[in-house]
C-alpha cells in the first residue's frame, strides 16, 4: 500500500528511509565501542528528516555534496550501506578504499559525489558542479568528459534502489549541498551564494540548523537574525521550516527542487533541527551541560521518526505489525551489511601511495 499525503509524499517510504538511517547510526554507535571503527564519526541521529525529505525529490542523476555529518545524506541519496560500513572499518571495500573514513564518503553511481570534513569545503564544489551541469545542458560544454578517474572492482557489483529519471528532457540535474549553521559563518558560503545567484545555478542549499557548532551555541557565534534571510538578500529563493517534520521538509524541498530544476536559480532552505548524540562519537553528552537544561529532552519529544510514526498510525497508512516487519527487515539488512563489511580486506600497505596523481 502506498501512502501519499496531500503534498504527494509517500509518508511510509519517508518513514522507512528515516528509520533506516536511525538504525544504521545506532548500530554504528553500538559497535563503535569495540574500537574497530577507528575514525572520527559524526552521527546524525535526530536530524534524519532533512536528508530524507530532500532526497525524496532527487534522481540518481541529481548530485549531492555533504559535510562531516554525512551518513544520512549518503544513505538517503542511495549510497551503498555496505561500502559505508566497510569505509568506517578502514577496509579496501570501503567507498573510499579506506582512505576517507566516516568523514569522506562517495558513491558516484548514486549521485552522492562527496562529503569532506573541512567546514565549508564542499560548498563551492557543489556550486561548480551545478555550474557544469548547467553548461552541459546549454551545450556550452558538449565534449565534457566523465567524472570518474577510473573504476573499482566493486563499483559494478553495487546494486541500489533506483529512482525515476527526470521527467522532461528540458529539466536540469539539480545539485544539493548540505551544511550546518556553523558552516554558514564561513565566507566561502557567501562567495558561493553570490556566484550561484549570478549564474542562476540549479543548486539547492540545505542548511541544517541544529543550533550548535561542536558545543558552541548559535548565540556565541551569530547575531539574532534568520539565516535564510541572508540567503534571500543574496538573491536566492529562500525559506525556512521545521527540519524535524519530514512532511514539511518534503513540501519545501518539492518546490525548491522543482524551481532549481526549471531554471529558476539557486534555492535555500534553512531547516531547524537538533543533534542528539555528542558532536563526534557514539555517546550522548547531555551531562556536559553545554545545552540548556531540558533542551535535548524537548527535541527528543519532537523526534522526526516518532512524529511520522504517529501520523502513519493516526492516518491508518500503516499499522504496528507492518512497522514491526519494517524494523525486522532493516535489522536484517543492517546485520548483513555489517557482516559484509567485516569480511572486508585490509588495504595493502603498498597501495597507500597510489592515486595521488592521475
Amino acid at each position: 500500500m502506498t501512502a501519499m499525503n496531500s503534498a504527494g509524499a509517500d509518508l511510509k517510504q519517508l518513514y522507512y528511509q528515516m528509520l533506516r538511517i536511525r538504525r544504521v547510526e545506532q548500530a554504528i554507535a553500538e559497535r563503535y565501542q569495540q574500537q574497530e571503527m577507528r575514525c572520527p564519526t559524526h552521527l546524525c541521529i535526530g536530524e534524519e528528516a532533512i536528508a530524507v525529505g530532500i532526497s525524496a525529490h532527487l534522481t540518481t542523476q541529481d548530485k549531492v555534496f555533504s559535510n562531516h555529518r554525512g551518513h544520512g545524506h549518503y544513505l538517503a541519496k542511495g549510497g551503498d550501506l555496505r561500502r559505508l560500513l566497510a569505509e568506517l572499518y578502514g577496509f579496501a571495500e570501503g567507498c573510499c578504499g579506506g582512505r576517507g573514513g566516516s568523514m569522506h564518503l562517495t558513491d558516484l553511481a548514486a549521485g552522492f559525489i562527496a562529503s569532506t570534513p573541512i567546514v565549508g569545503g564542499t560548498v563551492p564544489l557543489a556550486g561548480g558542479y551545478a555550474w557544469a551541469e548547467q553548461m552541459k545542458k546549454s551545450g556550452a560544454a558538449q565534449g565534457c568528459a566523465s567524472v570518474a578517474g577510473g573504476t573499482t572492482p566493486w563499483m559494478e557489483e553495487v546494486e541500489r534502489s533506483r529512482r525515476p529519471e527526470p521527467r522532461t528532457p528540458e529539466a536540469t540535474n539539480v545539485v544539493v549541498i548540505f551544511f550546518g549553521d556553523g558552516c554558514f559563518e564561513e565566507g566561502v558560503m557567501h562567495e558561493t551564494m553570490n556566484f550561484a545567484a549570478l549564474k542562476k545555478l540549479p543548486l539547492l542549499f540545505v542548511c541544517e540548523n541544529n543550533q550548535y557548532s561542536v558545543m558552541t551555541p548559535l548565540a556565541e557565534r551569530q547575531p539574532e537574525r534568520d539565516i535564510y534571510k541572508i540567503a534571500a538578500a543574496h538573491g536566492l529563493q529562500a525559506a525556512s521550516g521545521d527540519g524535524n517534520s519530514v512532511e514539511q521538509v518534503y513540501a519545501l524541498a518539492q518546490a525548491a527542487v522543482a524551481n532549481a530544476r526549471t531554471g529558476q536559480g539557486p534555492q535555500f532552505l534553512e531547516l531547524h533541527t537538533h543533534r542528539w548524540p555528542e558532536h563526534c562519537g557514539p555517546n550522548e553528552d547531555d551531562e556536559l551541560g553545554y545545552r540548556s537544561p531540558g533542551e535535548l529532552a524537548d527535541w527528543k519529544l519532537r523526534c522526526p521518526l516518532l512524529q511520522t510514526r504517529q501520523a502513519l498510525l493516526d492516518k491508518r497508512l500503516s499499522d504496528e505489525s507492518e512497522l514491526t516487519a519494517m524494523e525486522a527487515s532493516l535489522a536484517d539488512e543492517i546485520e548483513q551489511a555489517f557482516q559484509w563489511a567485516l569480511r572486508g580486506s585490509r588495504p595493502s600497505i603498498d597501495s597507500m601511495g597510489l592515486h595521488l596523481y592521475a
Binding site: 563503535y32 574500537q35 577507528r38 575514525c39 572520527p40 564519526t41 578502514g90 577496509f91 570501503g94 573510499c96 578504499g97 579506506g98 582512505r99 576517507g100 573514513g101 566516516s102 568523514m103 569522506h104 569532506t116 570534513p117 573541512i118 567546514v119 565549508g120 569545503g121 556553523g182 558552516c183 559563518e185 564561513e186 565566507g187 557548532s213 561542536v214 558545543m215 558552541t216 556565541e220 557565534r221 551569530q222 563526534c280 562519537g281 557514539p282 556536559l288 551541560g289 553545554y290 585490509r346 588495504p347 600497505i349 597501495s351 597507500m352 601511495g353 595521488l356
Partner: protein, 356 residues
C-alpha cells in the same frame, strides 16, 4: 632560583595561557572550542571562569576573518591568542597570516606591530585522515615575518607560549597532538627563550640526530635503546624554525661526523631541506658520510589505520638508519625488538580511546 614542577605538555600550555592572561591584561584567548566543556583537550580549562567571557571566548567558524580580526585587535594593542584545533584549518587564513600579519610591521616601516599568537595542533591517529593531519610547518616557516616554533618538551611548551604572548610579532605555535600527554619539567623561573635556538636533548659522540617536534621524542627513544648497545647518539631538537638553528647542528656534526635528520612532515614539506642545504653550503666537510633524512611519504595520510600505521616512521626507522650508517646492521633485529610497543599504532598513549 629554580622552581620546577613536573607536568604534561598539555598542562604546561594551560599554565602558560593562565600566566599570560594574568601578566598581560591585553591578552585575549579565542578559538572554536576554547571555552567549551572539552576546552581544547583541557588546555584552556578554567580560564573563562577565571578571566571572564570577554577575554576567553569562542568564535564563529570564519578562520580568515577571525585571523584578520585578531590582527586588527593586535594593531590596537591587544595580544590575541587564536587557537585552531587542527593546523589544517589555518589554511583558510593564509591570506591574513601571510599578506597581512607577516608583512604589517615591515610595510608600515616599523610604525605598527602585530603581537599575535596562532596556536595550532597537528593531528595524528584514530583516522584523522587527509584533511585533519597535515604537517604544514615548512609552509609557514618559509614566510619572512612569521615566527614559527614547534616546542617538543613541556618546559618549552610553557616558555615558548609565554614568550610568544610577550612577543610583538606574529608567532605560529605548532603543537603535535601526540606530545600533549608527555610529562616534563617546567621551571617557571628559567630565562626567556627569545623563541630561538635548538635544544640539546641528549649528548652523544657517535652520530647526530637532528629532529623536529614529535620526531625528537622518537629520536630520543631510539637513542635510549641504541645506547644500551653501545651507540651514543646526540639528539638535537629543532624546536624553533625561524631562524633555524643550523649552527647547533654544525657544532654537533663537527664532533660526530654523521647526521640523520628526522622530520614529522612529508619529504617535500620538510624543514630538513633547509637545514641540509645550509649545512651543504657551509659545513659539508664535517660529515664522513652523506646525511640521511627520515620523513613521511609524499602523499596525504589515509584514514584507515591499516594504512596510516605504516605512514609514520618512528624510533624503529631512526634506529635502523643509525645502525646502517654506523655499519652495525647486525644489531638491527634486537634494537627493533626492544623498540616495539604493544600500544596500538594509531594511539599516542594508553589513556586515549577515540574519537579524537
Amino acid at each position: 632560583m629554580r622552581d620546577v614542577t613536573v607536568m604534561s605538555y598539555g598542562e604546561a600550555i594551560r599554565e602558560a595561557l593562565d600566566d599570560g592572561l594574568t601578566q598581560y591584561p591585553e591578552m585575549i584567548l579565542i578559538g572554536e572550542g576554547v571555552p567549551d566543556p572539552k576546552t581544547i583537550f583541557a588546555t584552556t580549562q578554567g580560564l573563562r571562569e577565571k578571566y571572564g567571557a570577554e577575554r576567553v571566548l569562542d568564535m564563529p567558524l570564519a578562520e580568515n576573518g577571525m585571523t584578520g580580526i585578531c590582527i586588527g585587535a593586535a594593531l590596537a594593542g591587544m595580544r590575541p591568542v587564536l587557537v585552531h584545533q587542527r593546523i589544517d584549518f589555518a589554511l583558510l587564513s593564509v591570506d591574513q597570516l601571510v599578506n597581512n600579519a607577516a608583512k604589517w610591521r615591515y610595510m608600515f616601516d616599523g610604525q605598527q606591530q602585530v603581537p599575535l599568537v596562532i596556536r595550532v595542533i597537528v593531528g595524528r591517529g584514530w583516522g584523522q585522515g587527509p584533511q585533519h593531519s597535515q604537517s604544514l610547518q615548512a609552509m609557514f616557516a618559509q614566510v619572512p615575518g612569521l615566527k614559527v616554533v614547534m616546542p617538543t618538551t613541556a618546559g618549552d611548551a610553557y616558555h615558548f607560549m609565554l614568550d610568544a604572548i610577550a612577543d610583538n610579532n606574529p608567532v605560529l605555535y605548532i603543537e603535535h597532538r601526540w606530545l600533549h600527554h608527555i610529562q616534563g619539567e617546567v621551571d617557571k623561573n628559567s630565562p626567556r627563550t627569545a623563541l630561538t635556538g635548538a635544544a640539546l636533548l641528549r649528548q652523544g659522540g657517535d652520530i647526530t640526530l637532528a629532529a623536529f617536534s614529535h620526531m625528537s621524542i622518537e629520536a630520543l627513544k631510539a637513542a635510549t635503546v641504541l645506547a644500551k648497545h653501545g651507540v651514543d647518539a646526540e639528539v638535537v631538537d629543532m624546536r624553533c624554525l625561524t631562524p633555524l638553528d643550523v649552527d647547533s647542528v654544525a657544532r654537533s656534526i663537527s664532533k660526530t661526523g654523521l647526521l640523520l635528520v628526522a622530520d614529522c612532515a612529508p619529504e617535500t614539506a620538510s624543514m630538513a631541506h633547509k637545514l641540509l642545504s645550509e649545512l651543504f653550503q657551509s659545513h659539508g666537510q664535517h660529515l664522513r658520510q652523506p646525511p640521511r633524512l627520515i620523513a613521511y611519504p609524499n602523499h596525504p595520510v589515509p584514514t584507515s589505520h591499516f594504512m596510516a600505521n605504516h605512514y609514520y616512521p618512528g624510533a624503529e626507522e631512526i634506529a635502523a638508519a643509525v645502525l646502517e650508517m654506523l655499519d652495525k646492521q647486525p644489531l638491527k633485529q634486537i634494537v627493533t625488538m626492544e623498540l616495539q610497543s604493544d600500544l596500538a599504532k594509531d594511539l599516542p598513549d594508553r589513556s586515549f580511546a577515540g574519537p579524537f
